[in-house]
């Protein structure tokens, strides 16, 4: 059922860019809650997929300034799933066909919690939908290599769930490790 949702959204995304010569990025990623390290990203990973595109404010021989637009989904067992729409501004430094980049952005995260939710109703609590929205700040770095019209890359990205508030934390931090490709479609 999750795949059906992703397929539906992917199709819609493809339709919206139909006929345009813009890059399409597709990444598979591992997600975990926590500090900016690699713990929890490899053993029993929580998997996700992200599809996006990018536009160029500057597209020079040695560097690019880009604006990305992404839609992504991840499934974190026993905690939540997240469907998001995000956009980032990024700077990419090119060294021949090798490149490094950094991005900063934000988006809307639609969380579906595995922890049932209840709201006060009179003297009691009643169950409410376990799907809710959150602002999603993002910060990422990546590296990759271009083969003509195809690039392969890896990205490490942190994102938050805001507002949060438990134990006075302003955001619940998540980390993701992506492996992906960028196709420059004609």
């Amino acid at each position: 059922m999750c795949l059906l949702v992703i397929n539906f959204l992917t199709t819609r995304a493809q339709e919206s860019i139909n006929g345009r010569s813009i890059p399409i990025t597709v990444t598979l990623f591992s997600e975990s809650v926590g500090l900016p390290n690699f713990k929890g990203l490899f053993k029993n990973p929580n998997l996700g997929i992200r599809i996006g595109t990018e536009f160029y404010y500057a597209n020079k021989t040695g560097h690019q300034t880009v604006q990305t637009l992404n839609i992504g989904y991840y499934y974190h067992k026993d905690f939540q799933s997240g469907l998001y729409l995000s956009s980032e501004i990024g700077y990419r430094k090119l060294f021949g066909d090798f490149f490094l980049d950094g991005t900063l952005g934000g988006g809307f995260l639609l969380v579906t919690s595995a922890l049932p939710r209840y709201k006060k109703a009179g003297d009691n609590f009643e169950k409410i939908s376990n799907t809710f929205g959150r602002f999603m700040p993002t910060l990422g770095i990546g590296a990759g290599y271009r083969f003509n019209s195809v690039s392969l890359f890896s990205r490490y990205e942190m994102f938050g769930e805001m507002p949060f508030g438990f134990k006075d934390l302003p955001a619940l931090p998540h980390k993701t490790l992506h492996v992906g490709t960028r196709l420059n479609l004609k």
């Binding site: 975990s32 809650v33 469907l83 595995a114 438990f166």
Partner: protein, 379 residues
Amino acid sequence: MKNLMTGKIVLLLLSACVQEIENIKPDYAEDIRFDDHPKNQVYTNGLVTYQNNTSAPGSILLIDKPQETLWIGAVGKSNLEYQVNLRTNNLVRTGSVTKMFTAVVIMKLVEEGKLSLETTLASVLPSMNSHIPSANEITIRHLLAHLSGIVDPLNESLQYQADLINNPSRVYNKTIDNLLEEYVYGKDLRFKPGTAYSYSNSNYWILGKIVETITGNTIQREMEEKIFLPLGMNDTWLEKRDDKNVSRGYVDLYSNGVLQDVTTWDRAEGSDRAASGLISTADDLRKFMRGLFSGALVSLPTVAQMKTIQLPDCNSFDCEYGLGLEIWRTDAGTAYGHNGSLVGLEINVLWYEDNEAISVLYKNNGNFSDKSWLSQLIK
């Protein structure tokens, strides 16, 4: 209209993508009521106000005064999914209240001459020499009184807290050795042992290991033989045992007035460990407090030691801690006992010196609460 329908379908599909955590329907067992108690209305009013003020799905209050008959009240729900009422004899997780039990087991071993309060950690667990700094200076007394300086992953380590969220089953399945290796070993002490106070669950994880090393039995079995059986605590255990009738835990995770069921997190931290794993009932906790402070478990001189603040120059409320006992200055006089909290619950168990009353106050919302109102009922 079409967009609204599409949105609803997407939400429905998203909900179907996530499997909610398991919640087995509890028994709708009969409650034991104390409605005929002369102060039933006064006590119930206090309890209902507390439940409302703390936005707890349910709350239990026990008051046992020598000059009165026992009263226990319960309001609200133990399980919101099935709308099951919280009962006066409901099983509840007790969090750090467990530390009193572990301390009693240690003090009994001291009375039996198998251990001394000045025994060093390194002498009883030699392997600690290579894992914990100054293990040859840290004593049993330091561990019991939180004077060791050993770090506390549960309250200090963001990595531990992230691990709990990421995979509570994995945290649940970790042994004490796993926990110590992952979060404690190799970390610097916060201060030189014996010179300051810093609350740490690690102290009681290690005390559990010490009990097992000295006796050759599990901490669970020692607690059962030394405490539960002699006092007739028939609804109390420390071992890993899933019971659908244990009250579930809730917390306002996003600080937006919405409670989420975090029982899997409480299960991970609140099972089988010498620092926070006890499951019990209000009345069994009463039996423990009455037994401890009457000298039925350890001698009264030992109880007096347990009640004594251990940090020599303690000059603030924060360091008023004995040997496994917190010291509370209340309007009803000095009280001894322990507070317990997990992500989804809070419990407070006290014995009041002036009138030898006992209170047990529980709620299944993990937020911090003001309990000063309780003194008026105890006086």
